[in-house]
């Protein structure tokens, strides 16, 4: 459907009846005028032909071709006359001037002697015209011309006293062809003049209507503009209330009220939004590093904590791929699983090793939350990082405390039992023998009592170092408690004798190395004051084991028993516990 402005609508509504009226009047007027013109032409034609016929009478009677020719030529000069024929009904004498539609033009004037024959052939050419117009049909009208027939009748003069007249004697005939060109031209001119004046006549009211409609249209347009401005978000826009049209005034007031309410609501909303934004901004700038990644995997935003944590400024980070933080410590599977989780649940939580700008790798606790997952193009991911380097160190410490001896840094009794169980499980499969040595220092207590714990501890640390040096990597050296150490040689040999032989060599090596004198630096206020040389031997009990022949406690107990036997039998020696 076409859309029009009010002004056009008003103009259309007003102009349509006016136009219809004008066209009707015009049609009536033109029709009337055209009929008058046609009638005029016909009457003029009749008059001309009557006059010609009466003038030609004597010429026809007297056979005076020259006279008739002049007469016809004179008649031809009358407006609209196109052709004239004068015929003598007696001898077919023929005068023709001008031209006739549908008949070829007369050739150049001929010699008088062949005139009659020429006349006859010419009459044949004029046959249609001569048949079309006759006494019964004195006028014939076609598209181009009007033809009129007029008999030439001898004027009657009474010759007796009675006034008796003889019958009218037709002595010839006149055919006049009137061109419709002039009339049609006049008709056309009249048509244009009428149409033109009508258009002018219509332009005047149309401009009046256009100007007049301004008083209606302008306020409405103003209202419309205000509505548009409101729609475009300009809530300050207000419609002028003073209107000359009551309905428009009501409309303006209503619109302004509505705009007021809208503005108020908008302000409240804006305040809330500002507040929320503020909160969000503050929250964003928390001590946790934050990064927002768009659906295109580009960093959209980072906070200051992120910069502090990673070393990348906001400018450096934005637009980059989060892979720049990749430490290389996690494989592809790790990230794949991470993304799967995010895509499934919308969140991921875990530790990631990241790399700072300066290349340092650090552990971070990461929280990733997907936002607007439902709308892929608007989706983004918020990641919060907490640097957990310190936490990791603390964890390591705790772990040490739990599984290692704090003084010697050797695995404690719990770890030993654990490893012993592992080794037993392994040897069950491999059928290799292993050995557990229980080592006790022979004269540790006197040192401790004489020089104090600090010096005793120095000795213990030295013992631990010497023990670790004596065994393979795969073997375990543990501090069992006090001055008791345990060394576990795992996976020795499949043959028992070989294994015992091997264990004996190691045990002897340990006994010998532990019997070496110890140089202990006694410190006072952090400075070395004296170096004490101290000799301390050890008693070693060895228990061989394979698979699950016995449990861990049993193995340790047997080794302990063997150690006691060694101590009883003179210290500084190695004793094997016989296997069952």
């Amino acid at each position: 459907m076409n859309k029009y402005s009010i002004r056009k609508q008003v103009a259309l509504l007003t102009m349509t009846p006016l136009l219809v009226m004008a066209v009707c009047l015009e049609a009536f007027f033109l029709h009337d005028s055209f009929s008058v013109m046609d009638h005029d032409l016909m009457e003029r034609g009749k008059l001309i032909s009557r006059q010609l016929a009466s003038s030609a009478e004597y010429g026809v009677f007297s056979n005076n071709r020259g006279f008739l020719q002049n007469l016809a030529t004179y008649t031809l000069q009358q407006p609209d006359v196109r052709g004239v024929i004068i015929l003598d009904s007696g001898v077919g004498f023929f005068v023709e001037v001008g031209e006739f539609s549908g008949v070829p033009k007369k050739p150049a004037p001929e010699i008088a002697s062949v005139q009659t024959r020429e006349d006859q052939s010419r009459i044949v050419q004029f046959k249609d015209i001569l048949e079309a117009v006759n006494l019964q049909e004195p006028a014939s009208l076609d598209r181009e011309s009007l033809r009129l027939f007029q008999p030439i009748v001898a004027a009657q003069v009474a010759l007796d006293e009675q006034g008796t007249l003889s019958e009218a004697n037709q002595i010839g005939e006149v055919i006049v062809e009137m061109s419709l060109e002039g009339t049609n031209g006049r008709k056309q001119r009249m048509l244009w003049v009428t149409v033109g004046s009508t258009v002018l006549f219509l332009i005047f009211p149309m401009s009046l209507i256009f100007l007049g409609s301004r008083s209606i249209v302008t306020p409405i347009r103003r209202l419309s503009d205000v509505v548009e401005a409101l729609g475009n978000g300009d809530l300050d826009a207000r419609a002028p209330v003073a209107q000359n049209i009551i309905e428009l005034e009501t409309l303006s007031k209503g619109l302004n009220d509505m705009a007021d309410k809208l503005q108020k609501a908008n302000m409240t909303l804006q305040q809330r939004m500002d507040q929320a934004m503020n909160i969000a901004a503050i929250a964003f700038e928390s001590h946790e590093g934050m990064m927002i990644v768009g659906s295109d995997c580009r960093i959209m935003r980072v906070n200051k904590a992120f910069t502090r944590m990673t070393g990348y400024t906001q400018e450096e980070a934005i637009g980059q791929n989060p892979h720049m933080l990749n430490s290389g410590r996690h494989d592809a599977d790790f990230f794949r699983e991470m993304w799967e989780t995010i895509n499934e649940t919308g969140v991921w939580h875990g530790e990631i090793w990241n790399r700072r700008k300066d290349g340092e790798v650090y552990p971070a606790m990461v929280n990733i939350t997907a936002v607007s997952r439902d709308v892929p193009e608007r989706a983004c991911y918020i990641a919060t990082y907490t640097d957990i380097t310190h936490k990791k160190v603390a964890e390591e410490e705790i772990k040490n405390l739990a599984f290692n001896d704090a003084l010697t840094q050797l695995p404690n009794r719990r770890v030993l039992i654990d490893r012993l169980n592992q080794t037993m499980a392994v040897s069950k499969r491999t059928k290799h023998y292993s050995a557990l040595m229980f080592i006790d220092l022979d004269n540790f207590k006197p040192l401790n009592d004489k020089y104090g714990h600090e010096v005793g501890d120095l000795l213990l640390v030295e013992v631990a170092k010497r023990l670790v040096c004596c065994v393979r990597e795969v073997d375990t050296v543990a501090r069992f408690g006090g001055d008791e150490f345990v060394v576990m040689l795992s996976e020795l040999n499949i043959k028992k004798e070989e294994s015992i032989f091997h264990a004996e060599i190691v045990a002897e090596k340990i006994r010998a190395i532990l019997a070496e004198p110890y140089l202990l630096e006694i410190r006072k206020n952090g400075k070395v004051s004296t170096t004490l040389e101290y000799r301390c031997t050890s008693s070693i009990g060895v228990r061989m084991f394979l698979g699950h022949q016995s449990n861990a406690d049993e193995v340790i107990k047997r080794a302990d028993l063997a150690m006691y036997r060694a101590k009883r039998e003179g210290s500084n020696s190695v004793r094997f516990c016989e296997m069952d």
């Binding site: 009677f61 056979n63 001898v91 010759l159 007796d160 006293e161 008796t164 019958e167």
Partner: protein, 313 residues
């Protein structure tokens, strides 16, 4: 104009009337009243004029005039029928055997009538007073009116060549030349043109195939162009544009007819067919001026004609 012109004429008529009255008185009372039926062809003015004059002229006589306009001849007893016009003449001659006096008929028309009908009733008494003037009077008139002109042109249609010799004789008697031209099939104009070229005047001969209401205007126009005056044979010709004409009025003819009836009353015999005794001369002075011809006054012409008549006789 319809009254007789000339005091002599009037005097003669008076004498004649007195003589007639005296004669009828002398014949006495035993003379029987004559019943005359006057049959008019038409009711037009000339016929009425004729009838009135006729009745007046016979009022003093022992004649009972019964005027009828009828297609049928009354069988009522009448001793004499007087017809006015050709139509009633035909009627009377063909339908009755009582004596008929035909008036106001051209000589040629009367001849045709008697040739056809008279053969049947040879015993019937028929006579006529012609409408047209005797040719000799016409020629005398031309001579008297236009003495300088010598060539008289006439047109005749193919059937009328026989009378031409008589015409030529009459013309020759006045030392005039006759230029006769037959109207052939080529049409009137060539003949007219030819005769006008050789003539000084054109004399109308009573022939309706040549001179009729349709042609007369063009004939007159042509004669004007040639500056040849046309001599007419009746008043309408003069009115239409002929230079002049001599003719008899209905009154003149009626008087002459009344005389014939009077004569019949006495003699029981009708006079032989005769031309009008009295006539009028009419001149179209405008045409005279246009053609620059000078004609004498009517009376002068009449006197000249009378003197000519005496000379000839």
């Amino acid at each position: 104009m319809l009254k007789p012109s000339g005091s002599e004429n009037r005097f003669l008529t008076l004498l004649m009337l007195l003589a007639c009255v005296a004669m009828s008185m002398s014949i006495g009372a035993q003379a029987k009243t004559l019943n005359v039926s006057l049959i008019l062809s038409e009711t037009g003015a000339p016929y009425q004029q004729f009838a009135n004059t006729f009745k007046e002229a016979l009022a003093a006589r022992n004649v009972d005039v019964n005027i009828v306009v009828s297609d049928v001849v009354s069988k009522a007893r009448s001793d004499l029928i007087v017809t006015v016009g050709l139509k009633s003449a035909e009627l009377a001659i063909s339908q009755s055997d009582i004596p008929v006096l035909v008036t106001m008929v051209p000589e040629s028309g009367y001849r045709g009538l008697t040739n056809n009908v008279a053969a049947r009733n040879d015993g019937q008494l028929v006579s006529a007073i012609f409408l047209d003037q005797p040719l000799s009077r016409q020629i005398d008139f031309i001579k008297a009116a236009l003495p300088k002109l010598g060539r008289i042109g006439v047109l005749y249609s193919s059937g009328q060549g026989a009378d031409l010799e008589m015409v030529r004789k009459v013309v020759a008697r006045q030392d005039l030349v006759l230029v006769a031209q037959q109207v052939s099939d080529d049409g009137l104009f060539p003949a007219l043109d030819k005769v006008l070229a050789d003539s000084d005047v054109l004399l109308v001969m009573p022939d309706t195939s040549i001179y009729n209401s349709s042609n007369i205007r063009n004939i007159l126009l042509t004669s004007y162009r040639r500056s040849v005056p046309l001599i007419g044979i009746s008043m309408p010709y003069v009115k239409a544009g002929a230079l002049c004409a001599i003719f008899s009025t209905p009154e003149q003819l009626a008087v002459q007819a009344a005389e014939a009836v009077s004569s019949y009353l006495r003699t029981k015999r009708l006079p032989s067919p005769q031309y009008p005794e009295n006539f009028m001369i009419e001149i179209n002075r405008q045409v005279e001026r246009s053609l620059e011809i000078e004609l004498p006054m009517q009376d002068a012409i009449r006197v000249r004609m009378e003197s000519m008549g005496r000379e000839v006789r």
